[in-house]
Symmetry: D3
Subunit: 73 residues, 6 copies
Amino acid sequence: MPYILVQVTDEGVTHEQKAKIIAGATDLMVEVLGKDPDETFVVIDEVNTDNWGRGGEMVTLRRQRQAAARRKP
Amino acid sequence: MPYILVQVTDEGVTHEQKAKIIAGATDLMVEVLGKDPDETFVVIDEVNTDNWGRGGEMVTLRRQRQAAARRKP
Amino acid sequence: MPYILVQVTDEGVTHEQKAKIIAGATDLMVEVLGKDPDETFVVIDEVNTDNWGRGGEMVTLRRQRQAAARRKP
Amino acid sequence: MPYILVQVTDEGVTHEQKAKIIAGATDLMVEVLGKDPDETFVVIDEVNTDNWGRGGEMVTLRRQRQAAARRKP
Amino acid sequence: MPYILVQVTDEGVTHEQKAKIIAGATDLMVEVLGKDPDETFVVIDEVNTDNWGRGGEMVTLRRQRQAAARRKP
Amino acid sequence: MPYILVQVTDEGVTHEQKAKIIAGATDLMVEVLGKDPDETFVVIDEVNTDNWGRGGEMVTLRRQRQAAARRKP
């Protein structure tokens, strides 16, 4: 009877990627714990990068810095 | 001091239904555990059917199949 | 396909109270949203009063103060 | 390796306030528990006032009542 | 920067099974979303069967009924 | 009306540290968002290091490796 919450930043997760996450997380419960897939819920929560922090800063700023670093020759 | 999270698919939950869920979940805490309603938080989280999986597939697909089955004579 | 998390302090919630919370929360989803009870998960999370804060203080201290106030004539 | 979820009503939390919440919650983990900020995730979840209940009623209604009370002479 | 919560009943999940869940959920984020494994947190929450309800009843009772059904010739 | 969940590994968080986390997280809501402390819940969830994964491995193993590295001359 597993419940799986997958929380990720909302950086363009596609319909196909969501389908793969749902299938993969469910398979994991079936293969490792022998759970019934029909009893397995997977919820994907997409979080705006302004609302996710790491290292004390918004992921939005982290992404800007990463992009700037890549643009440098 | 209960905190209750009600996570449901976002299939048109009305304002009135939300009010009933909040009132009902709070009453449950008061009646069963003797909690103070003012100390009881209820949070309703509406999840897109693309982001909820069961049986390894998106609820969106599940709903389409259920609708197709109903249309058949 | 609701998932309901009921988080309460671990102040002696009995087996019977847990059964009532599970039944009541499930009934609420059936009556208000027309959900299938078999598709409704209820998870009760009992939290130590040292690990729950309100008003900036541990519930443990709050309970001690409430008990002391009741003992006063 | 802390994960911190900050759930608040969506009553106009600004970009600057989000940055302060992320920085402040991360600092708290560093100062109190000696955690590495880079290992600290902070997620802010803004909840519509229709979806948050307290005292058995929607926060939306609570806010309307509070506003009406303030308008009275 | 994914955070994955895996909530399951506490029916003897072994150390090896936990390792497989952590590895599998992390791999899923790497393969499907291209995430950095070092930025992926997986938290396993084992819930007592008395504290998990489905179909309006405790999983504990459900398991007893399932076991009784298997014993019948 | 904030609800804050602080999830950390259960590596000996003391009573005093919990009190500081509760006070600090509540102060943050008061100072940044102007919230009422009495309406602010803080829940600390201590997770066994076997149940927390990062980089695809249990934190338990990570800690053992870190300790081994420190013992080396």
